[in-house]
Symmetry: C2
Subunit: 385 residues, 2 copies
């Protein structure tokens, strides 16, 4: 049997601002993003809606595909929610890709949304820990920040990385995000600000940490047969790969590198027939400074142990190859948990289309990597103009 | 471009018993089902794992694809969790189908699991209400049972259906489930038992309601190229369809029929090139007696308003065409929420293969329908021997 799979394109996108919107509901944010994406795709009508979200249980709402489809006047279409902790957005894009590629759908909406500002910080911190191991890890009292702090301490010791070098990451993120109109934290910071900010979980400080954000982002995906009907600037999903690792970090073979990051990158690059040196612009998942640095290495943009040092030397700034996190990343754009992976693809697609509203960079090949848990569910996506 | 999509087969299946297993964990149940399914599929190794689950947030665990893959020695494969309230299992099967059909995977595991016995009944009842509308419905004090009671009252009034007629459904379910070794409630009941059982939400009585169950079921799906490597009795997924309706029932145009049930059935039958009269054996989603009865009508097995009356007359018993819920349905087999849709496909596949462990019926065409919310996310699947 001859198999000819369909290519899948991003033909529309839309984002809400990222921030803390006490007065807005989950469906209101999701609706803003989806209506913008449908508008951007020339009023394409999706036949499937996939909603990526992690913690809507904290606002006592599940069944989000029905909720958001109905809110947007799409009653009767098909859909479901996808969850992979902070990596939910990337995972939902795999589901959306396969629905279009298989022919079950020609046009699919992927909507990432998270709305948690009505919950207290301890409640949200507890919810985020659902990404780790509820039986063998969290009951012993460690938080999600604490787990990442173990990774940061181990990495800094093993590769002799100084505090000043780690600070280069959040400083660059805030410089980029300062220019991004939809970013949550539009402020510049210095190394002095970082080391004077409170300790969250030693050695992670407040300014090593992304903010907890509300927000929604949406993408309209379409098959090669119809993509041009909806967009003059379709962006090809050239490669997509996901990989899982253990939820707990106690059983890992290494702490200074994420197996799932390497595997998902390899899968995405192989599918696209490309390599890290081909990438012009990327959005990486820097929930903490250490995640940004390790990801540079695992994706193949920096040698092992050199990620932070290269940032200090001025690599990865806008206009470099690759430019990293022109959005400001999770650190400055913010981290609307289940929506983050969808924001990343919106932002890189806009850079490739030439209409990103912040610092513009030129390029033909983009990459996103979205991480769930402490490197336990990771999706890498390669985009081409 | 010529498109030739790949057919998708069930090549392995496995189930845990359904019940209340205070001493077992979510991963333990899921592992039992997945190991059985892998064994049944001749040790097939899936490259994706999709986990269907609704309320693992109540046991403070998300990120279930990573959790279960790692527990089963499958670290490094791909996957994510799918949620569509009580319809999560059916929705995950759509995701699994498209991954195989698109060629992103040759072999996919779909694992449904729910583990809630450690939570109190009020906590679980509150969680189930996340399937309804958290902003505009639940805050006014109605429960998920209360919403279904409105549907039952409306239906009984409109079609002049008597209490005795409604009781025929749970009586048949318990008769079937009595013979099913993995059923939760293996006991026969009478009309007298039903009307003497406590009122849950008038007119719904305890014996109109499914039990809240723990359990896990798993399926191994494979493409036509490789299906015969793993099974001598592969079961074809001939049709699959999903449809969404509003989460709240206050904005529906009708209460005595579910739009999403009709649409998802039509989509599945159209894809399979079959009609309701072709179906030999079916598993329908009877969270309450009223859901079983309405579904008979919406799928096309009974004329409108006649579902309960046909059950009274002896239709739908084992050996009839179609035989309905030879497992005992949600009422007797039980309702391990996010796993139910996967159980249904396991059970119908076993009837078609000839190795169902309860009451056996013969047949070539099977159907499952899995409902999330009050008819808000529904998946229908047509299976062929």
């Amino acid at each position: 049997m001859v198999i000819l799979f369909r290519h899948v394109f991003v033909v529309g996108l839309g984002m809400s601002n990222v921030g803390r919107f006490y007065e807005r509901s989950l469906r209101d944010l999701a609706g803003e993003a989806l209506f913008k994406a449908i508008d951007d795709a020339g009023n394409a009508v999706p036949s499937f809606i996939l909603v990526s979200n992690m913690l809507s249980s904290q606002v006592e709402q599940e069944n989000l595909a029905s909720l958001i489809a109905d809110y947007c006047g799409l009653r009767g279409i098909s859909g479901f929610k996808v969850e992979a902790a902070c990596g939910s957005g990337g995972a939902a894009l795999i589901a959306g890709y396969s629905l279009v590629s298989s022919g079950l759908a020609d046009v699919v909406a992927v909507v990432g949304v998270e709305k948690l500002s009505e919950r207290s910080t301890p409640e949200v911190a507890r919810g985020l820990a659902y990404a780790a191991d509820a039986d063998f890890e969290i009951p012993y009292g460690i938080s999600f920040s604490g787990l990442n702090a173990l990774v940061m301490r181990y990495y800094m010791n093993k590769y002799d990385v100084r505090r000043e070098e780690m600070s280069a990451w959040p400083i660059l993120m805030h410089e980029n995000g300062y220019h991004n109109p939809h970013a949550h934290l539009k402020m510049r910071i210095t190394h002095d600000d970082v080391v004077k900010s409170p300790i969250i979980a030693d050695p992670i400080r407040l300014l090593d940490s992304c903010p907890m954000s509300d927000g929604a982002a949406a993408l309209i995906l379409a098959s090669d047969e119809v993509a041009r009907e909806y967009s003059d600037t379709p962006v090809l999903i050239a490669g997509i790969g996901n990989a899982l690792d253990s939820t707990d970090i106690s059983s890992r073979f290494e702490l200074d590198s994420f197996l799932a990051s390497r595997l998902s990158s390899e899968r995405a690059f192989k599918m696209a027939g490309l390599s890290p040196k081909d990438v012009d612009v990327a959005e990486l998942h820097d929930a903490y400074s250490i995640n940004g640095v390790i990801t540079l290495e695992d994706v193949g943009f920096a040698p092992k142990g050199k990620g932070a040092k290269l940032v200090v030397e001025g690599k990865f700034r806008p206009g470099d190859k690759p430019s990293i996190n022109t959005s400001g990343g999770l650190k400055s754009r913010g981290h609307p948990v289940g929506a983050t992976g969808v924001y990343q693809v919106c932002e890189v697609s806009m850079q490739l289309r030439g209409d990103f509203p912040g610092i513009k960079v030129s390029g033909e090949v983009g990459l996103t990597q979205n991480i769930g848990g402490v490197g336990s569910n990771i999706t890498t996506i390669i985009l081409r103009r």
